[in-house]
């Protein structure tokens, strides 16, 4: 074979190879393009900022009930109890609502006389060392759920 023809055949072969190389590169790019979509998920895995401060888990709200004069006096007395005794002593009442809140709710729901009787009963039940044996359901805060509605002597209001 003459030298010129051999060189042309080599050149043709080189052109073919470079063309195939280019096509191969294009197809690899197309193939990679599909897999690159997965990277859009990076937002999901980004680092989150964590707050290491202690969160307040319990505490009393010092609200003043201004619905009536009597309720204002009572809520002030309750706030004083919260400030001087309860907040120092801690969240120790095993009931929900707590005895002080029960008293206020009971007075609001009924009257000062009936509310006081309801509170006297609640206070006696709180003194019972074996109250765990009673019927009280336990709520999420691990306290005996004992709402004031159950003690208004209106049977249709009782919640079990």
């Amino acid at each position: 074979m003459p030298k010129l023809l051999r060189n042309r055949a080599k050149l043709n072969m080189k052109i073919k190879i470079s063309l195939i190389d280019a096509l191969l590169a294009v197809f690899i790019l197309i193939a990679l393009f599909n897999s690159l979509h997965a990277q859009t998920d990076w937002v999901k895995w980004e680092a989150k900022e964590i707050n290491y401060e202690f969160q307040k888990t319990a505490g009393h709200e010092y609200k003043i009930d201004s619905s009536s004069f009597g309720m204002t006096i009572l809520s002030l007395a309750r706030n004083a109890y919260y400030f001087f005794i309860s907040d120092l002593d801690g969240d120790n009442c095993p009931f929900s609502p707590s005895c002080s809140q029960f008293f206020l709710n009971a007075v609001k729901e009924t009257s000062i006389f009936k509310g006081t009787l309801m509170f006297a009963d609640r206070f006696t039940r709180d003194l019972n060392l074996f109250k765990g044996l009673n019927h009280y359901p336990i709520n999420r805060a691990n306290k005996y759920y004992d709402p004031e509605e159950n003690y208004t002597l209106h049977s249709n209001k009782i919640k079990l």
Binding site: M13, I20, D21, T116, F119, A120, D121, T124, R125, L127
Partner: protein
């Protein structure tokens, strides 16, 4: 060099095959029959129905029923709503099957069941008393449902032999037990509890079963009264009155609390009985017949 060229061509062909493979498969789907034809919708709906995918099955049946009416499909469509707890829609869609359909008796039964499970007691009683859309083939089932509703409700109960006549003999004794407990509950009297606590502080609480509370009420009242007496005796007037007030506080609380405790006892008795009755019927699927819809 030729060998290198061959290997590159093979790689290229493999890549081309993989890249276009998906496209070809998609193309094939468009060449087949119309997926949304009524027949295909019905087929797909039936398949979903068997798989208990009632919400999606109802959608397919709905599309099918827009073009063709078929009582079996209409029944299945209504039953889909029944199965997913949309009882009102189930009842509404059953009405078209009440007349001139081979499934009319089953449709009427499912209609009553829909109202029963919808807890529409008023409508159920109206239909039952007027015998409206009444499936004669399943009259014993409707009677059972009516008896169950009477037991659930606080209305006046008829005699047990009338109330439970449609139920099997094996459960008669249990039903009679429920009947007696419902008709004559072992309630505690709030007045008796209050009177007992007036005589002996805490006695009313013991009467209602709250023994610990009763004993606590007794001792707190007794202790306060004793301290009041002792302070008066020692001429400590302020302390005497203080403990007198405390004794009155506990005494009053004990009387009031005993009455409240009796009411809670009665409410708990009623609540537990209702729960027991509901569980009894639930476990037996409300004595409903097993019909392969």
């Amino acid at each position: 060099m030729l060998h290198k060229l061959q290997s590159k061509i093979v790689i290229l062909l493999v890549l081309v095959y993989f890249i276009f493979l998906n496209d070809f498969t998609y193309c094939q789907s468009t060449n087949s029959n119309n997926l949304f034809s009524p027949e295909n919708r019905l087929r797909f709906g039936n398949s979903l129905y068997i798989e208990n995918d009632y919400l999606r099955a109802a959608n397919e049946f709905k599309e099918y029923l827009k073009i063709n009416f078929n009582d079996t499909v209409q029944f299945k469509f209504a039953n889909c709503f029944f199965k997913i707890g949309r009882f009102q829609e189930a009842a509404d869609n059953l009405k078209s099957l009440f007349f001139s359909s081979s499934l009319s008796e089953e449709a009427k039964l499912l209609y009553y069941e829909s109202i029963f499970f919808h807890k529409d007691i008023k409508s159920f009683r109206e239909l039952f008393s007027q015998k409206k859309y009444y499936p004669l083939k399943y009259d014993f089932v409707i009677e059972r449902m009516n008896s169950i509703l009477l037991l659930y409700d606080d209305s006046t109960l008829p005699a047990p032999n009338l109330l439970f006549k449609s139920f099997p003999d094996t459960v008669q004794s249990q039903l009679n037990n429920f009947y007696l407990r419902k008709k004559f509950p072992q309630n505690k009297s709030a007045v008796t509890a209050a009177l007992l606590s007036t005589i002996v502080p805490g006695a009313g609480k013991i009467y209602t079963g709250e023994i610990g509370d009763g004993i606590t009420a007794f001792f707190t009242t007794l202790l306060s009264a004793y301290l009041a007496y002792d302070n008066f005796k020692s001429d400590h007037q302020f302390k005497g009155w203080l403990f007198t007030g405390l004794a009155a506080f506990f005494y009053g609380g004990s009387i009031y609390g005993s009455a409240a405790s009796a009411q809670i006892y009665n409410a708990a008795l009623r609540f537990n009985l209702d729960k027991e009755i509901k569980l009894f019927f639930e476990q037996r699927n409300y004595f409903l017949p097993e019909i392969d819809y």
